[in-house]
């Protein structure tokens, strides 16, 4: 929150003062939205962490939210995986977002979704993995913990997009975002950051990432 607070300002100017609540920012990937980056504790999607997305309804903007970061990863020749997406991701739309389709791999089977995600993360070869668990069965906290550990192994973020209406397990994730139908993103939980606040997702607040211009 950027309320000009005189005390905060005074304290931040002193460099001989150690403040326990501030933690060192981890490694993060830019989300492609400056407004969101500012709110996230690490200044972007934390690497090697599990990020949970809770869309109010499917197709409310979760892919739009991820695409700038995923496109940036593929431009750096990193592999991106979509695991068990419920619908067909439109290639024209992905290309328009700047994704290199040769770097995108889609696992269509729902059955081995978590196994595949774990394998990909553990290999350390993937830039990011996005998983859409089946809406009909609840995701167990054991699965979530395994994914979290695999993400740490592979040093890549794993995005878990819960099916609308499903109840996610008690969170271990470092970041949990809800996406509202109105297009607002609400930070439900963020480890080491502020836990409140919502940001409006709008096509206007997408900023082109550093290397995006290189393709043109």
């Amino acid at each position: 929150m950027n309320i000009p607070n005189p005390l905060e300002k005074l304290l931040s100017e002193r460099n001989d003062l150690w403040r326990g609540r501030r933690r060192r920012a981890g490694d993060a990937l830019e989300t492609g939205r400056a407004a969101l980056d500012r709110r996230l504790p690490d200044g972007g999607w934390p690497r090697g962490k599990l990020i949970e997305l809770l869309p109010e309804r499917f197709g409310v903007g979760e892919l739009d939210l991820l695409l700038p970061c995923l496109a940036e990863l593929t431009r750096h020749e990193r592999q991106v995986l979509f695991i068990a997406p419920p619908l067909v991701p439109c290639p024209q739309s992905l290309l328009r977002a700047g994704l290199d389709l040769t770097r995108l791999l889609i696992v269509r089977e729902q059955k081995h979704a978590f196994w595949a995600a774990e394998q990909c993360l553990k290999s350390g070869l993937c830039g990011a993995v996005a998983v859409w668990p089946n809406g009909s069965s609840a995701v167990s906290d054991r699965t979530v913990r395994r994914l979290q550990l695999a993400a740490e192994d592979g040093d890549a973020p794993v995005f878990l997009c819960y099916a609308p209406g499903s109840t996610p397990p008690a969170s271990l994730a470092s970041l949990r975002l809800a996406i509202r139908c109105s297009g607002h993103i609400e930070i439900l939980r963020s480890r080491g950051g502020e836990t409140t606040g919502s940001i409006r997702l709008h096509p206007d607040n997408v900023v082109p990432l550093a290397s995006a211009g290189r393709r043109e």
């Binding site: 197709g59 739009d64 739309s93 290309l95 389709l101 696992v107 269509r108 196994w115 139908c181």
Partner: protein
């Protein structure tokens, strides 16, 4: 006898027992009395036994019923001649890497080592590496060297090495007769004459031996002394790899199948090395006991090569996904697709081969998920949105096509909807015709909000059906 020629014989003591045991997982423990039996002149007799069985009093040549009476715990296996042949072929494959003159004899393999002696430094070093390689295959074998192939096989039984003809003659003359590979009828005749050692037989005049004992004995003696060429049929590694394996016990357990497949993979590895090929895919057939339909599956490798652990993992994943209804009796493994061997190139600085890891991951995923489960997506040059995309093999896609804005998600098939629930926002985009493939259409696409407030991609179709359909979702 050409100068410098030197032959090495490899024999497997108790070849029948070793061949049978190779296919049984977990029976290497020497505490179980084991035997191999065969039908000899109408009766089932024990032919080879292990040490534990011998300590219990079982003797080779005993009738199986007697042996079982002496040692009720005795586990006796039927002699598997196919497995024995395969065992010799495996030995021959290893030997082929040391010499192009390799022949399979009755109880082992003989190879010419004189020519490759210099390459390996000296004979001892070469025989040591050969011996190590054979023991790494889990086989117990003995090596012997002589200037003559027929004598090399005999010397191998006792592990003796003789490099000169004169020394060979000296060694042979000290031998008792039973150490020669004589036909039973011949040895009985010689025994009847009161002859016990090779020296005594050689002391007889040549024509006398021929008159009394036939021409074959003379020829054999000439062959082992190097006075006559030993006829050998040189063995060549097969052009294509295909191996059938009968399991000793029909099984439904996938671990037992993996164990057997591992044995075949070992053989395949040797074959690939000899043929200098890289593996790109294998096909496996499982033949059930009750003559039911055979189960076939294949495993492809993203990048040609051979890594036993990786292949074994792929096969294990494949087997896990197959439900076996009846016990598997035998299995066949074929390596039809091979490619030229290209040594892997490692990164100059780190020495790790990253390029190899990605195909390995893809192989592992496809083995479990299936060929269709893992793919990339590509745009297609077609104006009809349902034909403008296709699934492609992992990592492949087609070039960028200029297309008007499309939603992020497409429904696999357009779904009918009610127009009353929609609030049209943007459009229309007319998409028409397709008479060339019989799927003519005329539609108007709109961006709309449905009653939940979702942004959807809908179309009004005029031809061939009439009505409103949802085709995609933004977001």
């Amino acid at each position: 006898m050409p100068a410098g020629a030197l032959w090495t014989g490899i024999v497997c003591p108790q070849g029948a027992l070793q061949a049978a045991l190779r296919l049984l997982p977990g029976t290497t423990a020497s505490t179980t009395p084991l035997a191999v039996h065969d039908t000899v002149s109408g009766r089932t007799r024990v032919i080879e036994i292990n040490r534990t069985a011998r300590s219990l009093g079982v003797q080779p040549g005993q009738v199986l019923a007697d042996a079982l009476a002496i040692a009720p715990d005795l586990e006796s296996l039927t002699r598997n001649r196919g497995a024995e042949t395969r065992l010799f072929e495996e030995l021959a494959l290893v030997a082929y890497r040391y010499s192009h003159q390799v022949a399979i004899t009755g109880d082992g393999v003989v190879l010419e080592t004189g020519g490759s002696r210099r390459l390996h430094g000296d004979l001892d070093a070469m025989l040591n590496t050969l011996g190590d390689e054979i023991s790494a295959m889990g086989l117990h074998a003995r090596l012997g060297t002589a200037p003559v192939p027929a004598a090399a096989c005999l010397l191998a039984r006792t592990g003796q090495h003789v490099t000169e003809a004169r020394a060979l003659h000296r060694v042979l003359s000290t031998w008792p007769l039973h150490r020669l590979a004589l036909a039973p009828a011949e040895s009985r005749k010689l025994e009847g004459l009161g002859l016990k050692s090779v020296r005594e037989v050689l002391a007889l005049p040549r024509f006398e031996r021929e008159r009394r004992l036939g021409r074959t004995l003379n020829r054999y003696l000439d062959q082992i002394h190097g006075r006559e060429q030993t006829p050998l049929v040189y063995w060549q590694p097969p052009e294509k790899f295909c191996q059938t394996l009968e399991l000793p016990v029909p099984t439904v357990r996938s671990e037992a199948l993996v164990f057997a497949l591992n044995r075949v993979l070992e053989h395949l590895h040797q074959w690939l090395r000899v043929r200098d090929r890289a593996l790109s895919g294998i096909e496996v057939e499982l033949l059930p006991e009750d003559r039911g339909p055979k189960i076939e599956f294949s495993a492809g490798l993203g990048q040609p090569g051979f890594q036993r652990d990786r292949l074994l993992e792929i096969l294990r994943l494949k087997l896990e996904s197959i439900r076996l209804h009846s016990a598997i009796e035998s299995l066949r493994l074929r390596a039809e697709s091979t490619a030229e061997q290209r040594p892997p190139q490692a990164d100059l600085w780190t020495g790790t081969n990253v390029n190899d890891a990605w195909p390995a991951l893809i192989d592992r995923l496809t083995a479990r998920i299936g060929e269709n489960g893992l793919c990339s997506i590509a745009p297609c040059p077609d104006h009809r949105p349902e034909k403008a995309w296709k699934w492609t093999p992992p990592g492949t896609t087609t070039a960028d096509t200029d297309a008007p804005p499309r939603p992020n998600w497409l429904l696999p098939e357009p779904r009918p909807c009610r127009a009353g629930e929609l609030r049209l926002v943007d459009g229309p985009e007319r998409i028409e015709s397709g008479w060339w493939d019989g799927q003519d259409c005329r539609r108007d696409y709109w961006t709309a909000h449905d009653r939940h407030g979702n942004r959807v991609w809908v179309f009004r179709e005029y031809k061939p059906r009439d009505g409103w359909f949802v085709h995609g979702l933004f977001g």
